[in-house]
Amino acid sequence: MLIDWFTVGAQVVNFLVLVYLLKRFLYHPILRAMDRREQAIDTRLADAEKTRAAAERTAAEYQQQKRQLEEQSDRRLAQAEADAERRRKELIEQAKTEAEGLRQRWSETVGRERARFLGELKKRVGVETLRISRKSTVALTGEDLQPRLAAVLLGKLRGLAIQEKERCAQAAIAASPAVRTPFPLGGALEKEISAGLQEICGSDVPVAYSTDPEMALGIETTIGELKLAWGIDSYFSELEKSVSEQLEQSIRSSSTIARETHAGD
């Protein structure tokens, strides 16, 4: 007999006991451990999801901050560029003003130099002309220049109109006549000129003589506010006018070149 019924019953009991034992020692602990692990994994996943969400939020915040910083940076850059442009214009304006001031000062300096130069020129030309005239007159005519000047003055005095002579007489009441020359006239010539003036202004009118080495060649007579002068001053004036024009033209051309050079920079 292949089946032993006692063994069958015993094996049923054995199997049921085994089911209990395995349930107690195998399935329950293993399933519990798996459940806990799954729970832990779920928790970790949830944590990871939270962390990821937080990281995404942080990343979004960073992105926003970065955008804001970039916008701020752009604004500040634009502001800085505008400031720099304004500053550049101010500096250019300031430089222009300074250049204009320098140019003006330079012009003034040049003007002063020109005036000084012209004065010097006038004096030198006068002195030299006087010296040459004297020499040439003496050399060519054998006469001194002073008597000729005195003669010309006397001739002009005598040639005055009646009204002018009366005005001179009127003026001589308030102030006595004065004669100014670049060199001393000498006693004879002074007497001659005094006689000529006294003919017009009155015999008792004193005549004062003075010498001015700075004066150009000529002779000047003043009676109060009236003045009668003769000499080469008029020629000097024309010379001065001509030299001044030449200088002006030279300054203008220099100034134009300087302005063009500055504009080119």
């Binding site: 063994t7 395995l22 195998l26 293993i30 399933l31 451990a33």
Partner: protein, 236 residues
């Protein structure tokens, strides 16, 4: 040489006896229980698993997945019974390679006991899930005429379970023993390897068939409940 280990009796008192089948079953139970207790005493729930814990988790999880695939919901309700069937038969069959060990599954008594457990467990779950009348109606499907055939089918499949397991394992052991006499070199080793494969397959077949029977007992009513509204809708 005895065909069944039942015949090897170590101790007897009246009808109570201790034969090789019972003894090896106890040995199996002892090894399985102690091994499980030892391994599960140091379970970890972290990421680092011990090798043995990993093995047991794979085993338990595999059984659960198989039960779920067969249609047993929730699979944890059926795990202790069906899982123990598989583990007990598998362990017995694998130990058959140990010289001198005679697997208890090679005994028709053991196979009959296990098949009898299935024979009782299937209606138990069927009645538990569908009620007594619901379960008994299964025998009248698809018509009343099929009642005797269903009853015979129930009995014959139980018998087939028992005889299939017994025949395969017993034959494996017998062939091994006979070959040991005829050709003591190489052939027994090959046959033992073949016996291992057969043992694993038989354990799987036994457990899966038990699961399928159980699933059939608890699912027919569900299928009928699903069909009922469709019929109503058709007639309406």
């Amino acid at each position: 040489m005895e065909i069944s280990p039942d015949a090897t009796i170590f101790w007897q008192w009246g009808i109570i006896k201790l034969n090789a089948t019972i003894a090896t079953s106890w040995l199996n139970m002892l090894l399985l229980s102690c091994g499980a207790a030892l391994i599960t005493a140091r379970l970890t729930t972290g990421g680092q698993l011990s090798r043995w814990q990993n093995l047991l988790e794979v085993l338990v999880d595999g059984i659960l997945r198989e039960l779920e695939a067969i249609g047993l919901e929730p699979p944890r309700d059926f795990l202790p019974f069906l899982g123990s069937l598989f583990i007990f038969i598998l362990f017995s069959n694998l130990l058959a390679v140990v010289p001198g060990y005679r697997p208890p599954t090679g005994s028709l008594s053991t196979a009959a006991a296990l098949a009898g457990c299935v024979f009782i467990a299937v209606p138990y779950w069927g009645i538990k899930r569908q009620g007594l009348s619901g379960y008994l109606k299964l025998y009248l499907q698809p018509s009343v005429i099929m009642l005797p055939f269903n009853i015979v089918g129930e009995l014959s499949r139980t018998l087939a379970l028992a005889v299939r397991l017994f025949g395969n394992i017993m034959s494996g052991s017998m062939i091994g023993a006979i070959l040991l006499i005829v050709a003591p070199l190489f052939f027994p080793v090959i046959m033992n390897l073949l016996g291992l494969i057969i043992g694993v397959i038989q354990a799987y077949i036994f457990a899966v068939l038990a699961a399928v029977y159980t699933a059939a007992a608890i699912k027919v009513e569900q299928q009928q409940a699903e069909k009922q509204p469709q019929k109503g809708a058709f007639h309406g």
